[in-house]
Each structure stands twice: as C-alpha cells, then as structure tokens.
Symmetry: C2
Subunit: 191 residues, 2 copies
C-alpha cells in the first residue's frame, strides 16, 4: 500500500473510500492481528428441483459478532435447458458475480490507497463449464469452470501501464480471486 | 448416475427434478458432447467506494446463445467496519451463497437420478478470511478463504450412510465446489 503518497496528499476520502479509516485500520491490525480475523457465513434452504434460496446475515470480525444487518436472501435456479424454471441466476453465475465484486473492490481500495482518482470501473466475466463433468459422463473433463476470463475497462487520468498495475493489484489482493485461482480447502459434513 | 434404478421406478418428476428430461439430456450429450459446452457470464459496474453492482443475463449453451432471461442485478458492498455502507452483502458472502446453491442443486439432482425422495435439505456455510492478506500486511497469510466449512441437514427416509453418500456426490459433481476446491485459471486483462 502506497501509504506515503496518500498521506502526503492529505486525502480523507478518495473514490468513496475513507483512506484515513483504511490506514488507521491497518495500524490497529499491525498492533493486534486478531482484529483481522473474519468469519463470513451463508445458509441455504432447498425449495424444489433446482430452485434453492441462500441467505446472508451475520459475520464475525474485528473481535466481535455482528448481526446488525438485515437478512438478505438470494434465489438460485437453472434455466429450462438445465432442468430449472428461471427462478433466479444459477450458482456459477453467482460465483462470477462474487468474483466481479471482489476484483472491483480490491482495485478501488488499492487505487485509493495509492492516491489514484477513478472515473469509472467496468468489467466483464465469462467462464466455460462442460456439463459432462456435472453429469458424471467423463472423468477427463473438469467439473468446475475450465477457465474464467475477465476484462476490465477503467477510466482514469493514468497511463495504460498504471491501469495494468491496477488490475495486477486487484488480483493480488482480492479474496474471491485467490479463493478461486488457488485450491481452497472446503469440508462438507452432516450436522 | 443410477439411471437404471430411476428408470425402473418409472419416475418422471422426483423432488421437482424432471428425471426423464435429465436422462434424455444425458443421451443427447453422449451423442454430441458439444451440447454440454456452456459459457456463463456476468458484468460489473463500480458505484462508489466498496459499493458495486454485478449483473447477470445471457449465457451460451446447448449450441446457442440464450438472452431470454431478464437482467438481474446484485448490489455488493462492505459493512462499515470494512469501509462500506451496507448497500449489499459482500463478495465473499456471494461466493458462499454460490457454493450453497451449487452443492444443493448437485445433491438434489443426483439424489433424484438415484430415485431418492428428499423432504428437506438445509445447509450452513462459514469461511475464514484474514484481512492481513487483502491489506498486504503479510505474505504468509492466504488472501482468499483459508478454509470453508459446510454442514448439511437432510431430511429423507434413508440411512445415515446414504446421507453421507449424498453429500459426497454433491461435492463430486458441483461445479462451484470444484472451482473453489481446485485451482481454476482466471485471466484478467484490460479490454
């Protein structure tokens, strides 16, 4: 993080990011790494067929439980060609949405810390799934996304090289990007 | 897939899954694997600070483009403790939601193909994130989820061993589970 640059510019809020709060958070965490440990959660209830509903509410972080947010629910379903009834986007589309939000937030936060003012940030996502994996028709085909391609369109008064640096930082520091691009342990149990 | 069992039972729809359509889809794909190739998509536009908006609409699959669904948008933001204003769940919560939908759909589809009737399927998700990764404060801490834990509660007239088999199948055949638990290539470019 280019703390010096942002501090010298005496910026409090840049791109809607409270840079002062960002740097004071960093100082707090340097003194007590426990503050940095977060637990995020979701739950799910099957509705019917390929239709199910995810819910998000509480999390743990900064040394305490937080259930102050209202519960939000997300309907997921498949299109008719995949046996569903279009009651919502499907789970792999939610994954791409998660990736889009995380890369964007990572890019905006780190650009703000560097003192770079952004005008607009747009991005597109496309990933390939071969259903033979899901259907158990081939052991050679990956069950998950074979590849995900992301394209960023950034408007800012910076050079193409600086834009390239921004998308490198977005990847380096994005939790969802790193969860997907590296193998992440997931345990699934009854209970 | 226990095709024989389901066929012998002469089931058309089980658990809301059209099992006949499922097996005819499998037959079509066996004859032409190109039918199984899908491309899923999302887009994102930064709003302000940690608030951005993902959108989902069209996809490619079964040999054609499909833009018949209405566009759905998903607001993402962070809670105040993470510099946001609670305009939506955050991206890692969307990732857990995606995982929840995919494991559930995988479980229900494969149970249906095996002729198992389900009464209810509920699941809980929790994942650990150490913000020192996102903030660039430690190279030793994973930037993404360190671990994700999933707990399934299945109501059905089957043995505990069969429930265990169901959650094994859910994992084996879930695209989102496999995208997360294995390293998936993600390319990020300007353009």
């Amino acid at each position: 993080m280019a703390q010096q640059a942002a501090r010298q510019a005496d910026l409090k809020v840049l791109n809607g990011v409270n840079v002062d709060q960002l740097f004071s958070t960093i100082d707090v965490i340097k003194n007590n790494p426990e503050v940095a440990r977060f637990k995020f959660r979701a739950s799910n209830e099957w509705v019917n067929g390929t239709h199910n509903r995810g819910k998000v509410k509480d999390f743990y972080g900064a040394l305490k439980e937080d259930d102050s947010r209202p519960e939000v629910s997300y309907d997921m379903d498949e299109p008719p060609v995949l046996l569903g009834h279009d009651n919502g986007s499907n789970p792999v589309e939610y994954l791409l949405t998660a990736l889009s939000g995380c890369l964007t937030t990572s890019l905006v936060a780190h650009a703000s810390a560097k003192g770079i003012e952004l005008k607009s940030v747009r991005s597109r996502y496309e990933g390939d799934v071969d259903l033979r994996g899901f259907l158990g028709l081939s052991e050679d085909v990956p069950v998950g996304f074979q590849e995900i391609r992301v394209y960023f369109d950034i408007e800012a008064d910076i050079s193409p090289e600086q834009k390239q640096e921004l998308i490198q930082m977005a990847q380096k520091y994005s939790p969802v990007f790193n969860t997907i691009s590296k193998a992440t342990p997931v345990s699934v149990k009854l209970g």
